[in-house]
Amino acid sequence: MRFGVVIFPGSNCDHDCIHVLRNVLAQDVVELWHGDSLLDDVDCVVLPGGFAYGDYLRAGAVAATSPIMPSVKSFAASGKPVLGICNGFQVLLEAGLLPGAMLRNQSLQFRCRQVLMSVESTKTPFTWNLREGQILQMPVAHGEGNYFAPKDLLDDIERQVVFRYAEDANPNGSARFIAGVCNKAGNVVGLMPHPERASEAILGSTDGRLIFEAVIEYVTSRSRVPALPRSRAEALR
């Protein structure tokens, strides 16, 4: 399949994502320049980590308004898979494609370390073949990963929580230990940990590969992901 990796000025995990997708997982990858507006017929869009536009103003705020983003939004609206990793997650939040916002880490410092997180939802193209409750190990590396949403919204999106930091492993003070969320449809996923840094055994974990392999299988086999419930009420039914 064909991945598109968006390159913003200041993206710095773009080469890492491309390496894993192209050399480890043997997929086609195209670079999507932030200044262009076409997605070039890709099956999945990845927004990589880094400091897009220096994270000036707020993390992801400037990148969310770059010329490529309207196309990313319509790609997402068509139901195709979009993955935001770290800074890419922040961009998706700022672009309104995902609910919530990021605060600075509770420590007020950047944190780079391995964390454990659990899979909370398997109703996304990136987790559909994983187990609910499955524990994954991969690193975080961010200064603004403290996920925030008002209580009502947190209640409302409980079913959209895709990943949660394991107990005692919340590296940033995130509300309800949230490490990753999806949109209502489930096709847009953002997470702070870096799956591309955990896709080769030599780097200490291959759990990140599961996320990429899930979407590859999803796209290539046209697998059907169970739809997310539309609302909390529906979820509780």
């Binding site: 000025p9 710095n12 400091f51 410092q109 950047f110 780079c112 370390r113 591309e196 780097l203």
Partner: protein, 738 residues
Amino acid sequence: MRTLSPSTLSPEAVGLTRSEYDEIVRRLGRDPTPLELKLFGVMWSEHCGYKHSKLTLQSLPSSAPHLLQGPGENAGVIDIGDGWAVAFKMESHNHPSAVDPYNGAATGIGGIIRDILSMGARPIALVDSLRFGPLTDPKSRRIATGIVAGIAAYGNCVGVPTVAGEILCDPGYRDNPLVNVACLGLLRHNRIARSRAAGPGNPVLYAGARTGRDGIGGAAFASEELHEASEHEDRASVQIGDPLAGKLLIEATLEALGTGDVVALQDMGAAGLTCATSEMSARGGVGMIIDLDRVPLRETSMRADEIFRSESQERMLLVVRSGSENRISSIFRRWGLQAAVIGYVTADRELRVEYRDSPVVSLPPYALAEAPAYRPAACEPPELAEQWIMPDVLPTVDPGSALMSLLRGSDVAAKRAVFEQYDHMVQIRTVVPPGGAGAAVLRIHESPPKAVAITVDGNGRLCALDPYRGAKLAVAEAAANLACVGAEPLGVTDCLNFGNPEDPEVFWTFRQAVMGITDACRALQIPVVGGNVSFYNESPEGLVPPTPVVAMVGLVRDVAQIATQSFKTEGDVVVLLGSSAPDLAASYFLELIHGLSRGRPTDVDLTTHASILAAVREAIVSGLVRSAHDCSDGGIAVALAESAIAGRVGVAVTLPYDHRAEVALFGEAPSRVVVSVSPDRLPDLQILAANHGGIELVVLGRIGGSRLSIAGPDARPMIDLSIEEMSDAYESLREVFS
């Protein structure tokens, strides 16, 4: 051309002497203009001109079979095989960091990255060697946390992982911290870039960020002692970094180099355009004509001398093939950077600078670029030998609580609270992260299964007592750190931090340290590919301890065959390789526990050292040993504790030493490595040691349980501590940096 009017400035006003002024007149055949004199002021400053050090540095060994570029360029380059090479260089940013810790450290990172980029290499790793005052002191704490935050802010954003480093504290660094940063880059042989301008008519292209008023005279400011008011008066000499622009400059420059149309390039660091234009033309034996009106500026009212001397960050100067300037410029503009042709290469050897249609500078580039060289007076400090006398008796201490204090001590304690603030994984190369071993290991996925290892080492405590032996030990320790991950040394870059070289005792100390590095690198056959000298590290409180720092890069042929320091498997046998006798002289134990900086450091026997390191490397590469850790600060007790803490497993050992408990436990001696091996492979290790010139091998004990138990030769127990309590003590820096 209109004549240039002579200077009304005094040479002293720009930091030069009367005889240096006479030398300028001799080289120019006339008096310099005020602007020219200011240029000489920065270019002949110690920071740019190396005038008090370059004759001494000539002794350093700088050739090796795999060397592609030695000293004299922006960084050294060494072949790692299969068409790939690494570039590396270390620099200091001490004075700016003393005045403005955050920005000083941040721009230190930016500057060293651009040196590596100038060689055509992609920067793949940063390491830093930091010196602070005691972290119990509020000022030192403010400086230390500011410097760490500055390194994090720049390094994380620019996307180059900070993978290794050291932090050592001493009251002598309280007002003059040291920030030595090294960068490692990766490149293809055929992409090596250089700074020799060539091809008359070729355009000179300015690329990167705009020029502003920051950092004017920064190089000259770095070449004098800090004084009481430095923190306020010298702020304007400190540059402000923009890591986003730094990141864009990396990508745009590498893309531009990929076109094959870049003839030469250099970053604009110390002394800005002045340095870049004069060095590039001097190295190429050509001239340049530069029009300052074309330089992209941040503000409009800048004077010619401000534009030409500004040290604004994130700027490169390129000479490109005639006709390619628009194509190259558009690459930089696509990355959101400035690009402007500001002049041309000329065939005559004259650097001409014009501003508002008038000539402001006209001189031979070599006159600026080649500062005079001095051989200052040297005199051994008379009181040095007195400090070698050890006290007859030391108060008795409990070995267990002494070990806990050492683990808590800032020089030994875990640096996790610092390196977790640095992105040490970006670029997905980091196989052995900081804290995993004495050296970091980075895989080269472009050329599998290769990896490179990098480490940094320096020891002001030892060099203050004996600069020759201390510097030798720093090289020996760096080589041991590489051997303990299984890497063969490729080369060294050094940063030499001393006081005012015009003080004969300081200069003697500097010369001894250079001799120490020279002898150690010759004996271990490791070339010194470049480096930096930082003099004038003084404050009203006095001199910093003499601190030569070496960063050493090594090659791992197969990334699957490496070792780390953590004990891995219960039941494994713990073995000591090397028989040098532990000694408390100049030890960390003596300093931390007894408050004494005394004794003469050991004169490391480099022949023995080399054979032990070769044996350790072979044991790792052949998969014999499961962990390796050399004994350094705090002696064998700290080495054992660190391996146990890292492996979260206990160990019970008996030491072979007949000495008093604290000497056996905490005495320091080079060329000792603690390894662990599965019991069935022990005979193979014994054979390997015998084959390496009969290296002494002592079985110390076994891994297991959850305590560190150390006994003496008569089985008397000396230490018995739980891994948990030791881990807590070892994480003491959390309280300072988190």
